[in-house]
Amino acid sequence: MDILSSLWAGFAVAALPINLALILAGCFAGTLIGALPGLGPVNGVAILIPLTFAFGLNATSSMILLSAVYYGCMYGGRISSILLNIPGDEPAIMTTLDGYPMARKGQAADALAISGVASFIGATLATLGLTLFAPLLAKAAIYFGPADYFALYVMAFATIGGISGTDPRKTLLAALLGLMLGTVGLDPSTGVARYTFGSFNLYDGFDPIVALVGLFAISEILFFLEQKAQDRKLIPKGRVFPRLSRVKEGLGASLRGSVIGFIAGILPGAGASLGAVMAYSFEKRLKDKGSFGTGDPRGVAAPEAGNNAASGGALIPMLTLGVPGSGTTAVMLAMLISLNIQPGPLLFERSPDLVWGLVAALYLANFVLLILNLPLIGIFTRVLGLPAWGLMPLVVAISYLGVYAITHAAFDLMVMVGFGVLGFVLRKLDFSLVPVVLGLLLGMDMENNLRRALSISGGDFTILLQSTIALLLYGITAAFLALTLWLSRRGNRAPVAEDAR
């Protein structure tokens, strides 16, 4: 078969010693970059680009290194989500919801193992999808217009009402707050400055990663200051070795999460965060009997499989059309161009070595990451044994460094602290922080697509209902809302779960 022989040739490229070494190095660096709050895949990849030039790597090897870092970040982001309740990067936010409660119950090792295996399943299935169907899926994704994207985001927001265990009204309010904060800055479709109060620093709006680090990491420090070191209950380290039985509990969720995440990834622009959100909320709607939000293994597996599958899916529009499916793939595209390789519909024909070498490298990177991550669980859980007076200042230092390294602006450090105070206040009021970040993160894309649809129709709102895809998405949303209502009527409502503090 054609694909098999191409893939075989790809493995021959990926198995060159230099490329194997790059896969190993990239996976390790990626895991680390992903785990550090602030540094995520976008900046991880951007930081490494000068190094690929410096080492004189060819395009294939550079792409292999960067993709290994990309996949590694997706694995790494969950580690700090689970251990510290601080997401390492945006797509790992959903993992805090059940991962951290598991850690608090002394099951950190289990949570890390479950999410590691889920990441492996998600990424491997996505790579398989990439191998078999890439050109086909890319053609289908073209027909997804602005109105359809808008419907997709409506679905995402309609389902996050039940995301966290707290009062759904508070969740919605928090999401609205995020949406509002997302409107700050230059309006992309007309260039008008909104809520900038004459400050050029606010023209670009709030960077979601700065908000994320502020809301989660800085507010955590403020809590720590309030409670004093000795009063703080140490999290039990619990078992050091994960149990196979717990890992099995997450398998079904991983498979479902992979499919949802993969679809979100293929759509240019939607990306890994949306994949994680959709995977989690679908899993919760489907399977929740009240345990989600309190440390349910399925609540860890679904979003992790979702965000890893989405990052695999995001490579499809990048390789087949030269259109970025996420922020990270946008950076990778820029690098390809500067290496004099023109991304676009002809990439498969013109650079088969690069495309298939990369695909083969992704399979290898997945195995490396799984093998790398499982034995490290024992080391990671030891973080929990660190005294808080040592750990917390370190987290602050890393947060400051990470944010400054990305934005190069002292102003953003102030923004981060501002978000930290906001996070502190919201948590005091028993709000979950996850919907705030989601509002900020997804709200901008949601607004842009609504504006695009209306620009096309000249202001006529009926365009939103004229596409079959959009109607289908609204139908699914309505069905889910109806299901929720029906479940609550039956008195099967989830008892109010512990908040995500």
Binding site: L51, A54, S189, F200, G322, Q342, G344, T407, S455
Partner: protein
Amino acid sequence: MSWKLKGLRAASVAVAVLIAAPVSAAECIAPADPGGGWDFTCREVGRLLAEQGLVDGNVQVTNMPGGVGAVAYANVAGKRADDGDLIVATSTVGVTQIAQGKYPGGTDQMRWLGMLGADVGVIAMAKNSDIQTLDDLMAKLKEDPTSVVTSGSSGAGGWDHIRLLLLAQAAGIDDIDQIRWVQFDGGGPAVTQMMGGQVGVVSTDLGEIRGFVESGDIRVLAVLADEPVSAFPDLPTAKSQGYDVTGYNWRGFYTGGEVSDEDYAEWVDRLKTLYESEAWQETAKASGLEPVWRGGDEFASYVTEQEQQMAEISRQIGVIQ
């Protein structure tokens, strides 16, 4: 180059990357994050200036993102207006922002050094569209400005939008503010949305959609250049079809408004020498730019003229009052 030498060079560059560049006088501000066009301009030009010995030591690149260049503009105007060692990367996008009053001050605040290259504007349709030529498109828009939805990678009033409207004006279309415009996050997404039938026309930089031009998935109605583009000599210019419009997205530099005539002339000289070097001609072509030179006073008056032209059309479509 032997492996050992390559390794040594790699190690030294890696060290430079990790510990920041060695101290040097010349500095280039890229008013954006690493990875974008302005950053590329600073880094490539800085590297070549150093390699050819046109500056002492290295050119240090500082990233100062914010406000589509406004943060750097304010910083230079306020704090470093007389710093003769400093250059700042900019492009047509920066001048558009200035023309629409989104920077603190007009183009007269700075001294404009020169442009070294330009990406070329392009007007493209889906290949299965019934519109075959630029004349067809303009005739259709003239009949009903809302009949074809146009799009590109800038917002309304951005350069992609404005150069399309300049073309429409040249075609004698009066109600250009009626033409529908959709912004996408880059030329690639705009083209895929056009292939999916969501929009009718894409106006953007040729460099952004080269892959689709090569694959033949789209039909290019016109490139907005004086002469046919060297990489695609078969693509017709708008001029050859009777529309006197060019739409370059040039890459160039400015320096502070109080920099001495001596320092200013020296920078213009350096950039001109660089432009004429083979290394720059190659670098520019590799990254999809047409090497184009305008320098010194000629460049300054070009920028002023462009600012006025953009302000005028922005008023016409209601982007500014």
